[in-house]
Symmetry: C2
Subunit: 237 residues, 2 copies
DNA sequence: TTATTTAACTTGTATTTACAAGTAAATTAA
DNA sequence: TTAATTTACTTGTAAATACAAGTTAAATAA
């Protein structure tokens, strides 16, 4: 019997993640050893190891045999994209979301960037366009397509300054499990250049991503255009 | 006592990976169940599960509780970069590497893209430039910097049509453990446009990556310029 | 003092056992 | 025939245990 319904290794993961995000442990710090964590949180080593393994996978820590687990830097992320500034650290307050097109239910576009299933096709998709600004500079122009699977009233929700993923998680218990993406460098067309305040034909990063969720039939698709003049997309592998 | 020195879960991983690459299991196929794999390869379920967990992380399979592990698509990879063609599947034979500058030992460049440690700075770096072609079209222009840490005779090795990572693995037992990267879209300068056979100022994908290895002081840095007109960089997350 | 060895840590690998939870097909009851 | 239930799978979670292998610092010997 678990008190929380969440598995124990997952709960430890969330606790340690929170500690790192809150600065209890900062970059370079040695995490308590596996055996210590066992004692502190009252679980066995395999359980602790599973939590740490997930953390290492997410780039939160790095494990070293014989030494321990060391906290790794946590790049700031927008949605599930990370950006690293060429100037300095990016403050939370300087991060804004502007809705270009409010979410509406439309049929899937023809010749979509990813193949869509029968079920998805039948139920249409929720379409929206957003602009993400960092220090008032437009960085991402984000076009999202969400399968219309069991998401009541989503078109009337408030999306300003809240992460789409957070709303999906809080209101619909939807969690992103992973996904795939294609990355290209393309010249900005007139629409993109207008939104991202760039000259036409300036290089823009284009990401096409398909995200899988805990609901097996629900996928979230995004077409993202990034102005990478000042900031880079940051990733771990 | 292990016969091979490689851990059992790693060996199972390599076997299954090879099977998927060789087409024994293809996309959509159900892998043998964990218990079957236990029986077949004579190991216990945690060991098998560790192998499958790594495979799921690498995007080779996807696990479904109650169903099993399903083989996922295998994008072709160059080094540790994956490309997905907009046209068709990419054949093995159509993949070539051309050396632009043979590996030489030089001091680290000033104002390097990543901070370098004292030890790295003292021992200099091995510098090389390569061009990767897919179906005779130049796709990657790759500038590599390898810390000169315990890699005897590397400057005299044959790099044509062999992966740098494979040489490091086979000859020096160096394994890439992970890393970080920054991605940008930039206009091609005259040098890049010449190598990638593009017009000047055409958008090019620029990756700056730092790779960590099993040797704690050894890092491999790459500055990669990609022509993404025909192919995209493919990634999982 | 200095170099070597030892000991006490750390994570890595592996087995064994048990039950929970999700899926799908066979069985049963309507 | 059809719908509901059961059964037999699948993976997920979790504990207890043991030893291997790598790291670091303390103890020892030169």
């Amino acid at each position: 019997m678990v008190s929380d319904s969440l598995p124990r290794h997952r709960r430890l993961y969330e606790i340690l993640r929170r500690h790192i995000l809150d600065g209890v442990y900062t970059e370079g710090d040695l995490l308590p050893s596996e055996n210590e964590l066992c004692r502190i949180y009252g679980m066995t080593r395999p359980t602790v190891r599973q939590a740490l393994s997930t953390m290492a996978n997410d780039g939160l820590i790095r494990k070293y045999q014989g030494k321990g687990s060391i906290v790794h830097q946590m790049p700031r992320d927008i949605g599930i994209l990370s950006v690293s500034g060429t100037t300095s650290a990016v403050g939370d307050r300087n991060l804004k979301t502007k809705i270009i097109k409010k979410p509406v239910l439309i049929p899937w576009p023809g010749n979509f960037m990813f193949p869509v299933s029968e079920l998805e096709n039948e139920s249409g998709c929720i379409y929206m366009e957003r602009l993400r600004l960092l220090e008032d500079v437009p960085i991402f122009y984000d076009i999202s397509y969400i399968g219309n699977i069991n998401l009541p009233r989503i078109t009337s929700r408030q999306f300003e300054n809240r992460s789409l993923f957070q709303i999906l998680r809080d209101s619909y218990l939807v969690e992103i499990r992973g996904g795939e993406q294609r990355i290209k460098a393309i010249p900005a067309n007139s629409k993109i250049s207008r939104f991202l305040k760039l000259e036409k034909n300036q290089p823009v990063l284009h990401l096409e991503r398909k995200m899988e969720t805990n609901i097996s039939s629900l996928f979230i698709y995004s077409s993202i255009f990034c102005n990478t003049e000042k900031y880079s997309i940051f990733g771990r592998f």
